[in-house]
């Protein structure tokens, strides 16, 4: 990449004619360039085919993670350079001469024409969360192959396409949200579904992420004290950024990151002190209550105090750790110890129940395709796009990078000894609370592990035990500590482990804060439609009521998840996956409807294909969660099973108290799944109705696209946006 192609300053838009050398429309559009482009494509395709073939076929001997990295990079590059470029040109007709909302509505605040690499950074920071770290870790129970293939194929044909298309459609509509687009382009029903779907997924998402953090802190004084220290650090940085050095984000972030690293080291000291240990050594339920109280406070406090500074720290850590992890994996190039495919594809897996089809597609949402991204792609990002062609880098490119994070999480999970992986990720309800029973059961599956091995590992990581540490975070942290430790110094394993836990907790708590706050605004919006004063976001009574409602919603699911003896994650994660894929189906329906209304039905497969696949897997998964007679799989079956045992008096004494709550929760989860499935199919039916009307010449809702205006940001004037 030649720097001569880089514009001088970032806040000015680059002229449309000025493209990077490696991109279509740049030098490659010349005849020689086309040739070079084709040759590069063929070479990449051959390398990708060899790498994927190697991964898929050489099953008798363990493979090296570098194969997966090479395959992934080739697949993303091919997808970005050819498929995404084709979609932008043919399906979307991206027009470099068309003025974007950032140019037309430039207000120097949220609508600002921004350099596309800056938009890429913004968008990646917004979409990348803990999802692609947790999902692949759980799906590793099937072996590394099913999850890896789904992450690669799902992202280049599904997730990246969804993100880019929604970003583009929103940019054409002055940055409208997914809900607004659904309402205007499909009808009021589509709009309402998107709104309710968003609120529901937010509640489930926050609960499941809260559960991941609580499980990582359970009886771990080091982890708990480090995570607790992030709160005063964030508040201090909040004051720094508002009072001491207003708006100097880089200074504040640098200071905060130094303090965070110090807190990991300080947590180790607390862990060694007998008295201090006791203050931070807690069971799950009190920790869950603490997270709930924290979320409630974060939703009502001013954003500059806690939420904004925490987000700066978490974004910085996130980008830093992703880069560090990529470098460390290449240095270490570990051999994957997990088999390519395990016997658990038959549905008997201990981490969560369900066959590889459809559950690998539900478990790995973020990393392959995530409906939540459509909300971000129709939020702040479209208001920064300078040139319609930049949607490819920001939308498709950011998602490809997020998918790569998912690949790295899969590597971190599968480089562990499978026995260790299952010992960490299996709940006590399945293998028993005693370590001896657990290792015996797990070894009998063909994944040998011993009590000594687990104790040594726990000691090395500075934890009292690593048995039944469900939720994905601890096993990911062990994997990351192995990668970092092997690459950068083995003596610091326990520090690396707790650094990884702190890293996950910091940005999970950012999602908890931000999600609760957005949820609060959505509830206030809904309440305001019933009674006007309740919709006033600056009124204290309204704020308190709405915050309490939203926190009660996710707090309920979190608390039930914590008291569940099977770890809770095996109930909540599928529910989250189903709701996230439902949201993706809504987004893909909106996109397909718009493409058909544009008269491009021959290209509709670009979004209709992923839609058909996702609707199928989501419905099959939901059907099994609703109708399966296996209490480990079906929600209603689990409720009935527990009720029968409770009535017969065959439950152990310690489970009798929580049984009624668990029965109620399983029934509730079952009905929620019914609800999600109905919403999913109603929206698809709405889209098909619009498509039918369009194809038979009947009236359809008018396009809400903003009219064409030529851009003034062209190469000949070179003028900045607001000159």
């Amino acid at each position: 990449m030649s720097l001569a192609y880089f514009p001088g300053t970032c806040d000015y838009a680059q002229p449309p004619g000025q493209r990077l050398m490696l991109e279509p429309g740049g030098l490659v559009s010349s005849i020689g360039g086309q040739m070079a482009n084709k040759i590069l494509g063929i070479v990449l395709a051959i390398i990708a085919a060899l790498a994927i073939g190697g991964i898929a076929l050489y099953r008798n001997e363990p493979i090296n993670a570098l194969w997966i990295i090479v395959a992934a990079v080739c697949v993303y590059t091919l997808g970005y350079r050819f498929y995404a470029a084709w979609i932008a040109a043919k399906v979307l007709s991206a027009d470099a001469t068309r003025a974007t909302p950032a140019e037309r509505l430039n207000n120097g605040r949220d609508y600002v024409p921004t350099h596309r690499w800056v938009v890429f950074g913004h968008h990646f920071a917004a979409i990348a969360g803990p999802g692609p770290l947790v999902g692949p870790t759980l799906a590793a129970q099937f072996g590394y192959l099913p999850g890896t293939l789904w992450i690669l194929v799902g992202s280049v044909l599904g997730g990246c396409v969804q993100d880019m298309v929604i970003l583009f459609l929103s940019t054409r509509r002055n940055g409208k949200s997914l809900g607004q687009m659904a309402r205007e382009e499909l009808g009021p029903f589509g709009g309402l579904s998107a709104l309710i779907g968003t609120l529901m997924i937010m509640i489930i998402l926050i609960a499941v992420l809260g559960l991941v953090v609580v499980n990582a802190m359970k009886h771990s004084p080091w982890a708990t004290s480090t995570v607790a220290a992030t709160i005063p650090i964030a508040i201090f940085i909040g004051f720094f950024l508002r009072r001491i050095r207003p708006g100097r984000v880089l200074e504040g972030t640098l200071l905060g990151v130094i303090l965070l690293v110090a807190s990991v080291w300080g947590g180790g000291l607390i862990n060694e002190s007998a008295t201090l240990r006791g203050w931070f050594d807690h069971a799950g339920p009190p920790l869950a209550l603490a997270v709930i109280a924290y979320g409630w406070l974060a939703a009502i406090l001013p954003v500059w105090l806690l939420l904004a500074p925490r987000d700066y720290l978490s974004t910085f850590l996130k980008l830093g750790v992703v880069a560090l992890l990529a470098v460390a994996i290449i240095i270490m190039h570990p051999t994957l110890k997990m088999p390519a495919i395990t016997q658990f594809i038959d549905g008997t897996g201990p981490v969560f129940t369900g066959k590889v089809f459809p559950f690998v597609f539900i478990t790995i949402a973020c990393g392959a395709i995530s409906g939540f991204h459509a909300l971000v792609s129709s939020g702040t990002t479209p208001k920064l796009i300078t040139n319609e062609e930049d949607c490819r880098l920001a939308g498709y490119g950011s998602m490809a990078l997020e998918s790569f994070v998912g690949i790295m999480a899969m590597i971190a999970a599968t480089l562990l000894d499978p026995g260790v992986y299952f010992a960490i990720n299996t709940g006590t309800g399945i293998v028993g609370a005693a370590a001896v029973d657990a290792v015996q059961t797990i070894s009998s599956w063909g994944f040998p592990v011993t009590v000594d091995q687990m104790q040594d590992l726990a000691k090395e990581m500075g934890e009292s035990t690593l048995f039944a540490r469900t939720g994905g975070a601890p096993s990911l942290a062990v994997g990351m500590a192995s990668i970092f430790g092997t690459s950068f110094g083995r003596g610091l394993m326990s520090v690396w482990y707790h650094f990884a836990i702190m890293f996950e907790a910091v940005f999970i708590l950012t999602t908890v804060d931000a999600g609760t706050r957005v949820g609060r605004f959505m509830v206030q919006d809904l309440l305001g439609q019933m009674w006007k004063p309740l919709g006033n976001t600056s009124s204290w009574p309204s704020t308190l009521i709405a915050s309490t409602l939203i926190v009660a919603g996710w707090g309920y699911f979190l608390y039930i998840g914590v008291i569940d003896p099977n770890g809770g994650i095996n109930i909540l994660w599928p529910l989250f996956g189903i709701s996230n894929q439902m949201l993706a189906c809504i987004a893909l329906s909106v996109a397909t409807g718009i493409i058909i209304k544009k008269g491009k039905i021959r290209y509709a497969f670009v979004t209709a294909g992923p839609l058909a696949f996702l609707a199928t897997v989501t419905t099959v998964a939901a059907f099994q969660k609703i109708f399966s007679a296996d209490p480990k799989l079906g929600f209603f079956a689990a409720a009935d099973d527990l009720a029968t045992k409770l009535a017969a008096g065959s439950l152990p004494a310690d489970r009798i108290a929580s049984a009624p709550q668990l029965i109620f929760n399983q029934n509730l989860d079952g009905w929620l799944t019914v609800f999600f499935t109905l919403v999913l199919w109603f929206v698809i039916a709405d889209m098909l109705r619009v498509a039918y009307c369009r194809l038979t010449g009947r009236a359809v809702p008018a396009s809400s696209e903003a009219p064409y205006q030529p851009t003034k940001l062209n190469g000949t004037t070179g003028a900045p946006a607001h000159a």
Binding site: L3, F6, P7, G8, T9, C10, D11, N106, N107, G108, R109, V112, T114, H115, W117, V118, G121, H122, A126, A128, G129, P130, G131, S177, T198, L205, L209, L241, R242, R243, P246, G247, R248, V249, L250, T253, V303, L307, A308, D311, Y312, A365, C366, S370, F372, H373, L375, V376, G379, T380, T510, T511, A514, G515, R517, V518, F521, T537, N580, H722
Partner: protein
Amino acid sequence: MRSLTQMRSAAKTVWECVRTVTGDNAYDRYLQHHEQTHPGTPPLTRTEFYDESMDQKWSGINRCC
């Protein structure tokens, strides 16, 4: 010597991009925009601008799973 100047200008570009993507120079860019669109009117102070942009940033969905 030409390559040294080029490297310095490239480093400056990267640094400006880092400042833009983090929001470190948001106030400077606001002042520039204000100067061009509303000359003669007093701009917001640093703290006022920071408060306002934080409220705006965190009223919509901009963080994900």
